[in-house]
């Protein structure tokens, strides 16, 4: 049984001071339902993805209240919370439900509300993506690791600081063309000297912003998809792998979990990524985007800063860097953007057969890949 995406909807990624998570989700779900032609009563499963509902919203299992708010009654509702990769895990679960024949129509909803508190509170919450008993209590934060890895990458491959920031420059250029992106302005190499440092050499310009947002995807089986009046996209496969703790890695500049997941996904499905494949990868920090396209074997190691110029379909939505990172929703935004790209809705025109979304927790601690294909 194949899994198809026949509807998707997202809110603008922003600091939504005037909307709570239920309002954001309502907007995304309404768009996804309208897009798919399905009705609330058609949905069998509601799979909710969010990373920090208890820390930020004081809410355990928000799926119950989301279902109530959306007017679902007969639906099976559940919450998937798996840190930064929650959205990918939720899609894997939905995919499994459909492939197994247990469900034919699954609504996957991702959201995060990161602007509820001042940044010192939110930074503390976000640091929970690392291991509390190792990094958390020692005050090692996510950008500290990005700083270590950036320094090591520059030293090992002789890459300049100005070359690294080119990733962010490209992401901002893409975000300007993406209506739902958060940071819709361009930056330049000159901006780097004025940028506030977070953890030397990581600055605000290297990092994702704090984001609110909600995204919804409608996953259905083939027979439901055949009735849809627009060309659906198939969710072909999901693969993942877990890396060693960063302090046990021999090479900080190699994302081996992403690489291992890619090798398995690639051989199982007989696909290979090239510079012309649409990919949507996690770039919480610019260095992570660069290392990911190397781990996915699109670019040779140490070459990503040059090779990315040859990738016209790299993070067309602006990446986490500029589209933003509403954590639990981010992988759903990625799939939504790839679907728009493959169905001719996006600003970029793409005629490739496949595309790939990549999500990961921290610096490749837990990497997930989602393979999409045009469905004929």
């Amino acid at each position: 049984m194949k899994t198809c995406v026949i509807g998707s909807g997202v809110t603008k990624v922003d600091r939504h001071y005037d909307k709570n998570y239920l309002v954001l989700i309502d907007e995304a779900v309404s768009k996804a339902l309208a897009d798919s032609g399905l009705d609330v009563s058609d949905i069998e499963y509601l799979v909710v993805s969010t990373a920090f509902p208890e820390s930020i919203l004081n809410q355990a299992d928000p799926s119950t209240y989301i279902a109530q708010n959306l007017g679902f009654r007969k639906v099976k509702a559940l919450t998937v919370s798996s840190g930064e990769v929650s959205g990918a895990v939720a899609l894997d679960y939905a995919h499994a439900l459909i492939r197994s024949g247990k469900a034919s129509r699954v609504l996957v909803v991702g959201f995060e509300k990161m602007s509820e508190y001042p940044s010192w509170v939110i930074n503390k919450v976000y640091t929970k993506i690392l291991e509390y008993e190792v990094e958390g209590i020692k005050n090692v934060t996510p950008p500290d690791y990005a700083a270590l890895i950036t320094n090591e990458y520059m030293r090992r491959y002789g890459v300049s600081r100005e070359s690294i920031i080119r990733w962010s420059i490209k992401m901002h250029e893409n975000a300007v063309k993406t209506p739902h992106a958060q940071l819709q302005f361009t930056i330049s190499t000159d901006s780097l000297s004025r940028a506030l440092r977070i953890s030397e050499p990581i600055t605000m310009l290297d990092s994702h912003p704090t984001s609110d947002g909600a995204a919804a995807l409608l996953l259905v089986n083939e027979s439901v998809a055949k009735k849809a009046d627009k060309a659906p996209i198939e969710l072909v496969d999901v693969e993942s792998s877990v890396n060693l703790p960063i302090y046990l890695r021999e090479d900080l500049t190699y994302f081996s979990a992403t690489a291992a997941a890619y090798k398995r996904l690639s051989s199982r499905n007989g696909v290979r990524l090239t510079t012309n494949t649409a990919v949507n990868v996690y770039d919480t920090y610019d260095i992570y985007g660069l290392l990911t396209i190397e781990a996915l074997e699109i670019c040779a190691r140490g070459e990503a800063v040059r090779c990315m110029d040859e990738m016209p379909y790299l993070n067309v939505g602006g990446g986490l860097k500029a589209r933003g990172h509403p954590v639990g929703a981010t992988p759903l935004y990625q799939v939504h953007e790839l679907r728009e790209l493959m169905t001719g809705v996006s600003w970029a025109k793409y005629d490739g057969e496949i595309s790939l979304a990549h999500a990961m927790s921290g610096p490749d601690n837990n990497a997930w890949l989602i393979l999409l294909r045009r469905w004929a």
Partner: protein, 354 residues
């Protein structure tokens, strides 16, 4: 609501800025901030009230200057308002201390007003109404603060001390007459201090777009809609200035060219004096203005509200500038202190007194 066209004006004004200054970069270094944070919001240094200064002493000085400039009999002042969020007494008015020290009549209205950084301008609005209605001949509105900031909070880079005072009275005695006054107020929790809490808290980015920018833009647009005035009709625009960057940004949003906004910006060199912030900017403009010029002043207070006031300068301004210290003279009078001295003056060091 528009009111007071040409019937009420500013009869006198005064300013006070403490002599002590601390460099913003010294505060940044103290807490391990990135040095560039001071450039990103444009703050060079801030004024620090000495150990023997507070809202009352500073407010008195500014009010004394306003009375000197106005040359009126203190006995004719029928209302005294002090807008502040740093009252020396939690219960007991500051306005009564200042009024008595100035020899103002006992037959008067007198109260302290609280609305974060715009209580002083609310004092002006109330005074305008009192004068216009004939209830009082003159009303004195003072904005004065020794602004608090949690040590190590980004607010500490800017929160400073200072005062401004405006004597409001009949238009024919005024250095500038009020043309239009409007106020835009909502319940927006961008910045607050709970009872019993030593320092204010704030919502970071929330203090910007939905608070400062939304309220000032709304108030100024309301004034323009009601009056038919356009940015090109104004010679200067003065906005509340929590830092140097925000007033330039809000000016841009409203279509005011940089050269009309820059002359009224004082915060980068004295910090954010809270209730005196926009009012010191207005004082500096008045001291350099020519008769016939039109000034827009738009104070903002968290919580949140913004006023938009347009005034027309009269020829009387010229003879009154020199009667008391000007903002520029007070800005130039400065003595640099260390973070330790600043901490001592602002009572940030906890010690047993005996």
């Amino acid at each position: 609501m528009t009111s007071s066209r040409f019937r009420v004006g500013i009869v006198g004004w005064g300013a006070y800025i403490p002599a002590y200054r601390i460099k913003a970069k010294e505060i940044a270094r103290q807490w391990g901030f990135d040095d560039r944070v001071t450039d990103s919001i444009w703050i060079e240094e801030k004024a620090v009230a000495g150990a023997d200064e507070d809202t009352v002493t500073m407010g008195w000085y500014a009010a004394k200057s306003a009375l000197l400039r106005a040359g009126v009999n203190p006995g004719d002042i029928g209302a005294v308002f002090v807008g502040t969020e740093s009252k020396p007494y939690a219960v007991k008015p500051s306005s009564t201390i200042i009024a008595d020290a100035l020899g103002i009549s006992t037959k008067k209205l007198s109260t302290d007003l609280e609305f974060a950084c715009r209580a002083g301008s609310e004092g002006i609005r109330i005074s305008v109404s009192l004068v216009e209605s004939g209830t009082v001949r003159y009303g004195l509105a003072i904005g004065s603060d020794t602004a608090q900031a949690n040590p190590g909070d980004v607010l500490e880079l800017t929160a400073s001390s200072g005062a401004a005072a405006y004597l409001v009275g009949p238009a024919d005695e005024s250095v500038a007459v009020f043309e239009n006054l409007v106020t835009y107020v909502t319940d927006t929790p961008d910045f607050w201090r709970r009872d019993g809490s030593k320092y204010p808290a704030h919502g970071e980015g929330f203090t910007g777009e939905p608070a400062y920018f939304h309220h000032i833009v709304s108030a100024v647009k309301m004034l323009m809609d009601e009056s038919g005035l356009k940015p090109s009709d104004f010679d200067y625009a003065v906005f509340h200035q929590p830092n140097g960057k925000f007033p330039l940004q809000v000016g841009r949003m409203l279509g005011f060219p940089r050269e009309k906004v820059l002359p009224g910006i004082v915060t980068p060199w004295i910090g954010n004096t809270y209730n005196a912030s926009a009012l010191l900017g207005l004082a500096k403009i008045l001291e350099n203005s020519k008769p016939g010029q039109r000034i827009l002043v738009a104070p903002f207070g968290s919580g949140a509200g913004a006023d938009a006031i347009s005034v027309l300068v009269t020829e009387k301004v010229l003879e009154r500038v020199g009667r008391a210290p000007t903002v520029e003279e007070l800005m130039a009078r400065k003595k640099y202190i260390s973070y330790a001295e600043y901490a001592k003056f602002r009572n940030l060091i906890h010690r047993n007194l005996w």
